[in-house]
Assembly symmetry: C2
Homo-oligomer: 597 residues x 2
């Protein structure tokens, strides 16, 4: 069926209900970053496969909003379809709510599946169309009626993360979360973020692409814990263990009834930014909502000593695989045919050789030459470029291991580089090194430190249009909050002090359109350092163990301190990785980690 | 009359009214940083002369809270009195509200002059004593009844700041503020901050120590502007000009009636953090309060091109005076008797020689040796130290000129320094230089940049326990918001992007108890730099023009970039100041600004 036909079927359903417009976002019911196939309604209807975008279908028109990462891809995938591409944030491009305000008449009805949007999204619509009496219909998933071969809701088996890895039992975690509820005088806590539920129960699954979580909701009370989940994904052993932790298992869809049965006068902790619109609407009148981030996000972000120890091991494994990949690429390019996609396959092969490897933590980005300048480039057969023995190849990939999640970017020099490429590589490296070497007082937030990574670029009138770093989960989502390295501070910004045990990426970049892209990414672990009369100092321990490319460094641009930091890191990389390498590989790594002078 | 007698008189008044406690804060009715003599009730009752502190008088006890700057001074001044010193923030020391919660019984009455406290202060009391039904009596100034020789309310003549200096007429400023009111749909704006009113009307006064402002309130409506002020401080000429700008003049005390006459349904913009408690309580029921910072603070912080040009001139004058002072101190110390207080007098003399000098912008800090480690040290006859030809002397002073306000700290090397002193001096200088050289994107806040100044100290396990910088007014308060350089971010933190025209101090320090203190302070002017595909870059233009002390610099600790920044600054200092110096002074400055290699 073509796009036109699919939209026609949807419009017939809209007409039956008197809807003037229907909105199809990308999200699942849990506001997940990646979603399972069941939830790919926007992709099904529009043909656009990117990870972010919102489709709007009106009776006479249709439009799709996506961000700068996907302008090119969306343009190609929507070409020839009746769907207009809306480049979010570009001058003159209306936002979805502005567009709707221009197209709807007073009294019109707009529909959407209320489980796939947030309250903030609906509030934004209301605000922009305050003067028109628009009726919002969030109760029905119309796409389901027009998608004959829709994949079923994913129901992959749940498995247990051994306490040896987690460091805390689920009983201990439940007690800690309940302690926070007590502090906030909350009678109930509604958890809908899949990584938080997986973390809390020391369980993992496979219902969402690149993220080892399972579809579930959780309602926690003082004396009761209700897990709403497809029962078939739980083994008897896990059910028994959950029972021992006093967790009641109910069907996945049952969550609305559970929330709806709360009593007036009770205080429910539910994060209005995360819980979906429809579920928030089922909170009975008289139940007070404590609308702030739930306690699990921060607890999960602060890794236990056991998690920290395992993470170091995971990063040595990942470092071996990535170092092998870099050696492969640098030594074989030009001698055999290598494309971006085949290179990604080679790296995946090296990772699979590692014990405990479970799969990639996001779709690999192997971006050669000008492709490197497209920040979220993902090679597909149409774009898959031959890698040549010249210029730069950006490789941003990551894996899940039983010992934790990795995320690493290296930019690899192939053959001779231009002076411009070396200068750019080195300026970004200076920023990476300065942030990585930061020592700071407890209480400092990522917002305070971001500029350390940007300063060498800003001094030269350069910048990168993304955050410097994101939090990383432990065998959970490769992107987690609340910790990060960003500079923008707004009312809605999470500004949390960096605590011992938080894992954050340090990944400044520089992107020169049509030429090359550079990004240097290590994961760093926030640690306590010296404590003295001035306070508790903190530092960032690098977890990632992979050399930077000496062939791309313009040493004259590094100051003595930066050279010392780089050389110390390279010494550590060699020490950690060499025991796991073959003799030839060891020799190669020794040369690759020689001191820069 | 002794302290005991004064407290006794107050207690008699308290008893008549059935008050169990009475609170005497430091503030005037305008939440000013410095206050006029009329408002020094806490000083009168307690004998403590510091600029911050709150006195609590109960029937059987009395206590005074002050912060770390004043522990020493308050300890000396309260010694022998019945008032207990409470060191705010020290472990085990209760806050005022905690102390009250421990001393008051259910149903007790606590009194204070509601014009001298903020609503936040009273809310904090309510919160801490939520379980006791305390009655808050903010309607009466009891100190007035027991202070026979209280100085009258200051009523110094108001004078006009020429439009040539301000850059905008009062009519233009009124129109801009009203524009903001319209954007916020505010029918009225209540202004109580004295510097905002002085800024808005292009008037200056002399009712508050170190700050050229006058006592006034302002209520601005769309078609009406009411200035509540002691009429006698306005000349006929100024009254005529205000009339031409449609400003109605009413008595100072009339403000409460004016606010009280607002109509239900109107929307009043009144910053609950600044407007005093009693005045907020006069807002009639049904008047909606828009409780956010008023528009004048930000407008005032962004200097006009005319103000910027005059500021440069003011800083050259101030630079000449301070440079003469440094030369005097370095060449005469050991040859004649110089004390901290006499040195302050010498510097004041040099400033007075400058045309357009109006007075100091705060009490001068000349702190020799160990006194430098006391952050807000102010020499008094009892502490006034002889300055010797060895060690470091910290000089933090500032002046008001018609062309603007200055604030500068230099730490001056006298004779040979120890290696520890030179290292400390140079580490602080590195931070000062790094922040001063910052180039950054528009949108960046002071919170993003603060760490640049601290990094060289943090790397060595050192810190200073104060912000790196504060905003500075134009011939107004030497401390103004909302711009600053600080790293702590909280819900109540002002995080505002740095805009072209903002003036901020850059003043990292290091304080080694019983040894020395170091602070390097320039005022910097935020400027627009290069604009390119990455955005609008900003930089900080140094306004202060005074050399750092080459004798104190350990050059081996500076990297090449830092040396280049320092030498470029010194070249500019010489160029700007030398035309105004005598030949001998020029020679001295030439040597003092020679390149550091």
């Amino acid at each position: 069926m073509g796009i036109e036909d699919k939209l026609q079927l949807l419009r017939e359903q809209m007409q039956k209900r008197g809807l003037a417009a229907y909105i199809v976002p990308t999200e699942d019911f849990h506001n997940s970053e990646y979603v399972g196939d069941y939830f790919k309604a926007r992709e099904y209807l529009s043909g656009f496969t990117g990870s972010a975008g919102t489709l709007l279908v009106c009776m006479e028109s249709a439009a799709l909003w996506t961000d700068g990462r996907y302008f090119l891809q969306a343009g190609q995938q929507l070409a020839g379809s009746p769907i207009e591409l809306m480049k979010s944030g570009q001058p003159g491009v209306p936002s979805l709510s502005e567009y709707l305000a221009g197209h709807l008449e007073t009294g019109d009805k707009v529909g959407f599946d209320g489980r796939t949007v947030t309250r903030a999204f609906v509030e934004e619509l209301r605000k922009k169309m305050a003067k028109k009496q628009i009726i919002y219909c969030g109760g029905e998933d119309l796409v389901d009626l027009v998608w004959p071969d829709r994949p079923p809701l994913s129901a992959e088996p749940v498995w247990e993360l051994a306490e040896e890895y987690a460091g805390l039992s689920r009983e201990e975690k439940l007690a800690r979360v309940r302690q926070k509820m007590q502090e906030e005088k909350a009678d109930a806590l509604l958890m809908t973020a899949l990584d938080e539920i997986a973390w809390l129960l020391n369980l993992r699954g496979n219902d969402v692409c690149n993220t080892p979580v399972f579809l579930a909701y959780m309602l926690l009370l003082e004396k009761k814990a209700v897990l709403c989940v497809q029962e078939k994904i739980l083994s008897q052993e896990i059910k028994d263990k959950l029972k021992r932790a006093d967790v009641t298992i109910l069907p996945y869809e049952e969550i609305e009834k559970q929330v709806g049965s709360l009593q007036a006068g009770q205080r429910l902790w539910a994060d209005g930014r995360r819980v979906n619109y429809q579920l928030l609407n089922t909170i009975p009148a008289g139940v007070e909502q404590l609308d702030q981030p739930g306690p699990a996000a921060l607890m999960k972000a602060v890794k236990t000593p056991e998690e920290m120890a395992h993470l170091r091991a995971a990063h040595v494994k990942d470092g071996v695989a990535v170092t092998r990949f870099i050696r492969f690429l640098k030594t074989r390019v030009g001698r055999e045919e290598i494309t971006e996609m085949s290179a990604a396959g080679v790296l995946e092969g090296f990772r699979k050789e590692m014990e405990g490897y479970l799969g990639s933590s996001f779709a690999p980005i192997i971006a050669y030459g000008p492709h490197g300048a497209i920040v979220h480039y993902e090679a597909v057969p149409d774009t898959d470029a031959q890698i040549q023995p010249r210029g730069l190849c950006l490789a941003d990939t990551g894996g899940h291991y039983e010992e934790g999640t990795t995320d690493i970017t290296r930019t690899i020099a192939l053959g001779e580089l231009t002076a411009e490429e070396k200068r750019a590589y080195t300026l970004v490296l200076k920023g990476h090194l300065r942030l990585g070497a930061a020592k700071f007082l407890q209480g400092v937030c990522g917002q305070n430190l971001d500029c350390l990574a940007r300063q060498p670029l800003w001094e030269n009138g350069l910048d990168y249009n993304h955050g410097t770093g994101h939090g990383v989960g432990y065998l959970l989502s490769v992107h987690e909050g609340p910790q990060n390295f960003r500079w923008r501070i707004s009312k809605d910004t999470d500004c949390v002090p960096l605590e011992e045990g938080m894992v954050i990426s340090n990944e400044p970049g520089l992107y020169v359109t049509d030429k090359f892209g550079i990004r240097h990414e290590n994961l760093v672990l926030c640690r306590k350092g010296e404590q003295n009369e001035y306070g508790q100092f903190m530092y960032l321990e690098p977890l990632t163990m992979v050399p930077f490319d000496r062939d791309a460094i313009e040493a004259s641009l590094l100051n003595e301190q930066e050279k010392a930091w780089l050389n110390a890191y390279h010494t550590k990389v060699y020490e950690r990785l060499s025991p796991y390498l073959e003799e030839e590989e060891q020799k190669w790594l020794q040369a690759a980690t020689m001191a820069v002078e």
